[in-house]
Symmetry: C2
Amino acid sequence: MTLYLDLAELLGARIEQGLYRPGDRLPSVRALSVEHGVSLSTVQQAYRHLEDHGLATPRPKSGYFVPLSRHTPALPQVGRAPQRPVDVSQWDNILELISLPPGSDVLQLGRGIPDISSPTLKPLLRSLSRLSRRQSMEGLSYGCIHGDPKLREQVSRLMLDSGCQIPPDEIVITTGGHEALSAAICATCKAGDIVALDSPSFHGVMQALKGFGIKALELPTDPLSGISLDALELALEQWPIKAIQLTPTCNNPLGYIMPEANKRALLTLAQRYDVAIIEDDVYGELAYSYPRPRTIKSYDVDGRVLLCSSFSKTLVPGLRVGWIAAGRYQPQILHLKYIGTGMTAQLPQLALAEFIAAGHYEPHLRRMRSQYARNRNRMTDWVSRYFPGGTRVSQPHGGFMLWVELDSAFDSQQLNRVLLPHKVQIAPGSIFSAAGKYRNCLRLNYAAPATTELEEAVRRVGAAAGELLAELRRTD
Amino acid sequence: MTLYLDLAELLGARIEQGLYRPGDRLPSVRALSVEHGVSLSTVQQAYRHLEDHGLATPRPKSGYFVPLSRHTPALPQVGRAPQRPVDVSQWDNILELISLPPGSDVLQLGRGIPDISSPTLKPLLRSLSRLSRRQSMEGLSYGCIHGDPKLREQVSRLMLDSGCQIPPDEIVITTGGHEALSAAICATCKAGDIVALDSPSFHGVMQALKGFGIKALELPTDPLSGISLDALELALEQWPIKAIQLTPTCNNPLGYIMPEANKRALLTLAQRYDVAIIEDDVYGELAYSYPRPRTIKSYDVDGRVLLCSSFSKTLVPGLRVGWIAAGRYQPQILHLKYIGTGMTAQLPQLALAEFIAAGHYEPHLRRMRSQYARNRNRMTDWVSRYFPGGTRVSQPHGGFMLWVELDSAFDSQQLNRVLLPHKVQIAPGSIFSAAGKYRNCLRLNYAAPATTELEEAVRRVGAAAGELLAELRRTD
């Protein structure tokens, strides 16, 4: 174990034992450095670690403090057992979110945009810029349908961290994660088929189901452990389900990590009922704990798991580079990719391959994981402080999204309408359900570094929510 | 009329009248400059123009000559009347073409790759490189689903040249032309429907039909005037056709430009039978004549034409930027785009908008049109010279593709197998037919500037074709 982790563990134990109490000032960096004979930066690293785990809070120019014993908000409730497969609705509410141009002055708290201001991204931009100047066939012409060989090699290496040994030629680069997921659905289902989903679930996938005329069966999902295996088994028994689609690691929007045992059990169920698993791992590398959790794909023995991912959440969305390891479905995926986009742009692929090969990806991930973990604590604090009493909040273990649940009569679409003149936008909960459930929920993005403007925006969302709720209670 | 055109017309008339005979040296640039009192560059421009029209040939350090009276090869034959709608085949043959990585040492004479070595592309690469360095939300985050507003404005302006007055908000930017065409098909048809096509036709579209379970009805197509309107009318009478898909301007692979009267008549037929038209205009701006031909879309009054295009043939394919003006189908297109790719990458859109706004696009097009017109003449010469007697050849009026038809017993897939060890690849004709017709045809790319290597490759293709034919005749 490294020095800073030793020290962090020691301090953490003292805090948990009550030697330092909530609100207490913790020993100064200098004092600890002398006391333990370690460098100042080691102590700082230890405090960073404690901060990531919610055990220390920095105050500018005053040092570190034990966080005030804050009220940990209750978790969101588990959705009801499924009624039946439904046709997907909600497109209009999504269209509103994705029609804003990037230069717009609306603070988009609802979209799945990572923090793209980190200096650890600079080498990627430099590569892209340099490669863009070259007037070469490699960068500017049609690439190979599978994607660039150098990038596939890097992706294959990255996947080892999630327990997957997948050779480069079983990976297909796609135009973002959307193309991967969309192709995965097309490759495994046809119009009229049924797909089982975690719920709440990513709207992009549900809209793909809608587009292809496939029905969605939303299953009860625990905010800490994910999709209910009992409900899934019952559903597999009852309906001719073709595929299970889920985001088991750093779920979007709930942020949980499905336990390994559940992942294995889910695969066993899929084998027993012979259905495909479409595993969205787009936030998987942003798990706050290290090493990153394994994917369901890592247990796959008969090629039934289609693992879909991208660099849109870990690096930047604008490059539109994702991938799929589709197992036995790879031939169909290649055809679907050809008819969908012909190929994926070469330049971003080449730049990404360079960035990863040069060793820039891991440090970037480390930084973002730690930033997002801190931001989660802060956003949870803000919501506890500024939202109406009784508000429930998810406890994300990765990614940068908070799921917020209000009183069952609340309407988050109405909230967005109220927020419109204030130039703030949240993601209404209903878009995360095929049937438009979760109207009383919303999703908040906590990727960006804290600013007073951001805090003010969250405060405003909370206040607006409070006013809407008060109104509701008056008219009741 | 400008000076150089006056002079070109005069010289052209003299050549056609036989004052200068095939093989004759034409007057020197200097002599003409003195004789007509115009600048040297005006004379050079005039010769360039004659060269583009096949009336003059430069010989290094010797000046311009009247081309040797060459045998103009016969045109390809018109396909037979359609049998019935069919399921599309041929995927494996296409997969072979698109699996080569761009760095491969195989000379890809079969793919639709423009010449990307022109210096007129430099400002585009500079823009892209500069924009790539900026760590901005505008370039790196999710854009608006419709595409970047600045680029849509430029595309709207460009479309005026083809007679279309389409406001920017009726244009959707897509990830290449593939996404536009694929979405157009999905928006107008569902599984089991029938689409009428020109024939031979672009394989990308036919594979999309295959992917979506839609049947293809291939109609007889004249190598100079395009799809047979009589056959189309008969087909519309006989089958429940949902859409007509065609490339009427600088057709791929035949290179013809459908006459304006035919375009109007086709629209009238579509209105009468209430079917959609999916118009692929991806080569339209590469028509050798100026001004560029009108699109069918330019006559559209009720939003039934879905105009699909891209910068993949006019600039570079690797940026993956296309667009669609989908008329009444725009809402469906937005949904399909969202589920297909989520959005189109921002950086290439911003770079393209800059490039066009700064006035770099028109000069580039002029240069490429003229280069491709010259290359067409040369490639036609080479094929006449190196291919077996009786070979038929298209007469492209735009783009950079030559369609070559050999003896009906010939097999161009076999030709590719023979060429494999020689590192040359052609596009076998069968991929341009839903039913695998045109096995005796092939498509050659003449975009690249002439080199001895290129001529040698064409010679080798011709020789290999000759040997295969001779073998066929021996075994007959």
